[in-house]
Symmetry: C2
Subunit: 382 residues, 2 copies
Amino acid sequence: MSTTASSEHKDPQSVGIVETKIARFDSLTLDNGEIISPLEIAYETYGTLSEKKDNAILVCHALSGDAHAAGFHEGDKRPGWWDFYIGPDKAFDTDKYFIISSNVIGGCKGSSGPLTISNATNKAYRSSFPFVSIADMVRAQEILVSSFGIETLFAVAGGSMGGMQALQWSVAYPEKMKNCIVMASTAEHSAQQIAFNEVGRQAILADPNWNNGMYEDDTKPAKGLALARMMGHITYLSDEMMRDKFGRKPPKGNIQTTDFAVGSYLIYQGESFVDRFDANSYIYVTKALDHYSLGTGKELTKALSGVKCRFLVVAYTSDWLYPPYQSEEIVKSLEVNAIPVIFVELNNPAGHDSFLLQSEEQDSIIKDFLEFTDDPDGVIYG
Amino acid sequence: MSTTASSEHKDPQSVGIVETKIARFDSLTLDNGEIISPLEIAYETYGTLSEKKDNAILVCHALSGDAHAAGFHEGDKRPGWWDFYIGPDKAFDTDKYFIISSNVIGGCKGSSGPLTISNATNKAYRSSFPFVSIADMVRAQEILVSSFGIETLFAVAGGSMGGMQALQWSVAYPEKMKNCIVMASTAEHSAQQIAFNEVGRQAILADPNWNNGMYEDDTKPAKGLALARMMGHITYLSDEMMRDKFGRKPPKGNIQTTDFAVGSYLIYQGESFVDRFDANSYIYVTKALDHYSLGTGKELTKALSGVKCRFLVVAYTSDWLYPPYQSEEIVKSLEVNAIPVIFVELNNPAGHDSFLLQSEEQDSIIKDFLEFTDDPDGVIYG
């Protein structure tokens, strides 16, 4: 289970070369009664599982993420999506912890989802794959975690949709985790959050290649998916960051179709996204997000009444897609339940994507939270 | 030039039944040197022009607006877009003022634009219509205003794009207006504002019916335009208002394609928009918006240095598309130039659309500003 840095990546803080593995299980019964069989889960691990199996941390990815959270795939120049925070001496210190990262079911990065080949038809399920909820994603993860012989996770952590999964873990498996880190997230989507996802889905449905989701690989609804991504991308950034990065500058490329730098950037983001993501999965995963709800106020407090772990909740002032008030809702409900929680609102200017970006402050906040586990009240920030 | 309330609309505060007229002029030379000939301007007027011709107010519409600002078209149930504020005893009091409202050139509501029939081809110009700027729109309006024999407008007023036109009037024709009302607007679009328009334009360009803008009436890029409108619509509302109005409720209709009330609402908005707006005009008008720039800071101060009228600038705390800081930029630059300005930030929860919605507070703010014109410092709010 250990990972060694290769000669190519000599950064002592990198986990080095890694690869995604596929774990195969008999089946998973979903919330709606449908069954995924076999259940395949793509995952990566970093660091070494202790003999007591008490040092495992599950990290959960966001909408377009995958199992590749840290280190480099052979030949790649860019590391995994949370490489800033996973590695020797980093927030999720691979010298101490055994990190598990898996792709969500319903996604398109190796775990069971719309691209899985159906044994019945020998073709991809596409839109005939069953609806998957955030709770279903978490139950698939629990099967993977158990397969390592791990009874209790030291922590579950994630941002955005990953934060929803971490929160759901604390509700579904209160005895199986000690710490929960929820960043830039919410206990349920607001109408505005649903609306942005909805327009993305409608863009895919409007693509002439959509074919009710039963498209072939060479006739994908690429334009619709690109539009969904372009729009989503605006919501991941802040007004301030966009002004600093693009302002009103002219385009870099795509001058036939846009007059502005922010336009050519978004077009590029859309076009490159369709090479690495599937339109059906975009619909499945955004629907899972939109349907997830632990409620607000008293309903949320009740939903969190059985939770047993410590919490770190991180929000960003500049995150207008998952505004800090949604994190505060979670914190309030935890406090009513007398569950130890540290809440930090950071001034990082990068908007929703802040949880993914490098920040020494964020690194030490996570590290301190994980290290001071014997103090039930934890450290106080902010 | 006077308008009389019809028997059908006996509301003493309504201007009653009105109709849009077309004024025709020889030509207009645009910023880029191209010529629109003939120049046609669709307009409506409400109230009576005084003998001295000193009581005229030009109101300027936003992106999807038209000349029909107040009263009812024969047979219509819904009045014009600013009916809350135009009429006897309303903010723009038709017992006192002569209100002129015209459709922007480049639009699709009767003024010269992509739907105009070219004499050369006997077909609509479509995307061969020349690029139109906000300054061009304003110059067309000046031709219309002059045709009434009006030398000086009592006021120019508008929200959003209408606010940009009002601001541009103050710069282009400083001697020809006494008062300027700029609501929910900006002196230039930010990268984020451009980005939302850009994705809307890309949705139209991605429609298989787009045909470089040379589509026919029976093969319009309706899906692309509907998507642009759906996305735009999210930005016109506030998070809070969407939560109150839709929350996480199930859809009303469209249950095949959406799971949520906010989804069915947006789909309806998109579908109904394509019946009343043209895709080329959407591109022309949003490009005019995105290209308009009086700058910020010292550049804006310089741009406004020749302005001679009084200003009322109104922003809304909940307007995240045209955030109050953009209004404050205008106010600061006016103040540096010692130009009398009243700035009001309202707590109306409706987001960007607030300037269109009924508000007694807003009504009296506009009315007071227009009435107290002899006091150069005006009234103080907030």
